[in-house]
């Protein structure tokens, strides 16, 4: 373990969080006009923040709020105290700008050192960082943390796959940091070049910065012969290092001494029951230059309440399973298409192809899941085939919380969609 905080008792952690939260809220009320005005509008008295639960009286911060305060409006320190500036890409609108003080960089490096340690990396490792170096937080974030840890860092940045592989061979890289899809690309190119990954020194892969699946993890682990762990972060909150998996690969430990997490129903903004899927909302507890209060990540996950065998007490979240933008409300229940996808994946053992059709009949929502039949769910016996359909129906109903109709269709008969909101055909006229 990198530091002792990772094994904090729940009481001690709660005390530390409250202490840090009070300080942080006091600071933003003084130094960030956006929060000062919000608190005033909401008649929120900073001095009344007496328990962690009081966080629910604080306002939310959205991506749009950050955009509206472009570039430096959300900074809580003068620029002379800022030693680093990063920016998130503006693919869906205006970019957002985030800053770090020297203390922030030190904290960030420590948190990265934590997740690297948790994933198995040590001072003996040669770590190849194939995240982009630049305004994106991935490259520099991992870089400083890996140096802090004392690993030997190869700051190769992203791209040029053949060169990545060459360096991996020559420099005897033992740990690879990149996006999961890039890891598969590397595996593909190795195969094209006739390079056997078992002949390399690679042992660990730390993947993040994009959504991936358990199936991808299996594929990466098998093809590259490494232990593949997931890590999570977003530039608005810090960058990578918010949460990361240990070697048990069973979900991501959240660095709760620096980030307060809530998992909320995106529609009502009330907490979901423990273990239910909801939107991850993060409050930074120690950030100096760019603190955020209840930042709505739009990322969906759920709490994994069981203790982890590794001994870390920080609670775990499941890998990000989707975005709130994809959420559907059916019969008043929040349904996420990615839940359906993972249930079907579980049953079929392969990437499912399905459509979700929502209709309104007699003022009631009717949900039909059309599933392309594959060999693993197809039987020559009618009895077994019907049992399989019932089994799928029951699992979907119990895990989604709404009854569904299931209809099997022939392979390749459903339209292939790409991108968001895919596979959902909402015929309701409201």
């Amino acid at each position: 373990m990198w530091d002792t905080n990772e094994q904090m008792a729940a009481d001690d952690l709660a005390r530390l969080q409250l202490d840090r939260l009070q300080t942080m809220v006091g600071r933003v009320a003084t130094h960030v006009p956006f929060y000062r005005n919000k608190f005033k509008e909401d008649k929120f008295d900073v001095a009344s923040l007496a328990a962690l639960d009081d966080i629910r009286r604080l306002p939310f911060t959205s991506k749009q709020d950050l955009r509206n305060n472009y570039p430096y409006g959300m900074f809580a320190v003068p620029l002379r105290d800022v030693v680093r500036i990063h920016s998130s890409s503006g693919t869906t609108g205006m970019a957002t700008v985030v800053g770090y003080t020297q203390n922030d960089i030190d904290t960030w490096s420590n948190l990265i050192a934590r997740i690297l340690t948790a994933a198995g990396v040590s001072t003996h490792d040669v770590i190849q960082i194939a995240f982009g170096y630049g305004l994106f937080t991935g490259g520099f974030g991992l870089h400083y943390g890996a140096e802090k840890l004392g690993a030997s860092v190869i700051p190769i940045s992203s791209g040029n796959t053949r060169r990545q592989i060459q360096i991996m061979q020559d420099f005897k890289t033992t740990a690879l940091v990149c996006t999961p899809s890039y890891a598969l690309k590397i595996a593909d190119v190795m195969m094209d070049q006739g390079i056997n990954p078992n002949g390399l020194s690679l042992k660990f892969g730390l993947f993040g910065a994009e959504p991936w699946s358990e199936k991808m993890r299996q594929e990466i682990s098998e093809r590259l012969g490494i232990l593949a762990t997931d890590n999570y972060g977003l530039s608005e909150v810090m960058g990578p290092g918010v949460a990361g998996e240990c070697q048990h690969c069973n979900g991501l430990h959240v660095n709760e001494d620096h980030f307060f997490m809530e998992i909320l129903d995106p529609a009502t903004l009330e907490p979901v029951d423990p273990g239910q899927v909801g939107e991850l909302v993060i409050t930074t507890l120690t950030k100096e230059a760019f603190p955020v209060v209840r930042y709505r990540t739009r990322d969906l996950t759920r709490l994994l309440p069981e203790p982890c065998p590794c001994g870390r007490t920080f609670r775990r979240i499941e890998r990000i399973t989707g975005r709130t933008d994809d959420m559907l409300i059916i019969k008043g229940v929040n349904v996420f298409p990615t839940q359906i996808e993972s249930i079907l994946f579980d049953i079929e053992g392969t990437q499912p192809h399905y459509n979700l059709i929502i209709e309104r009949e007699h003022n009631e929502d009717k949900v039909t899941v059309l599933i392309e039949v594959v060999e693993s769910i197809f039987f020559d016996e009618m009895k077994k085939q019907r049992t399989m359909v019932d089994h799928i129906k029951k699992r979907l109903a119990s895990e989604l919380g709404v009854g569904v109709h299931v209809k099997l269709v022939e392979e390749r008969s459903l339209e292939r969609f790409n991108g968001k909101g895919a596979r959902v055909i909402d015929k309701r006229e409201l």
């Binding site: 020559d380 016996e381 085939q385 392979e411």
Partner: protein, 143 residues
Amino acid sequence: MRVEQIAVFLENKSGRLAEITSILAENNINIRALSVADTADFGILRLIVDKVDEAEKALKGKGFTVGKTTVIAVEVPDRTGGLAAVLDCIQKIGLNVEYMYAFVNKTGENAVLIFRFDDMTRAIDSLQEHGFTILESSQVYNL
């Protein structure tokens, strides 16, 4: 003793069965026996053909979901009581029939009954013990 059968998933859309038979014909595959089990939503087509692997490959190549299972073929004289004798015996032994279908061979002398049992080994043994003729797979493919 065991005969390979292929099963194909069918949505109840018109023309699909014809499509399958023409794919098989194009690949010079002959259908020996065929049965369809269906519900309101979907159907399961079961086929016995002379070239099992080729048929499986051709149909999968055209996007059909294909499964392979083994069944047994029992030959009985095509006269009154032929079928009844087999069914009677099966019931007495207490074998569980998952499904069955029948066809008459080219000469028209004998009927062939295709069975899928939950316990295939026991079914073969006991039917033979009771004197029924179970066809070899090569006999069935070349009927």
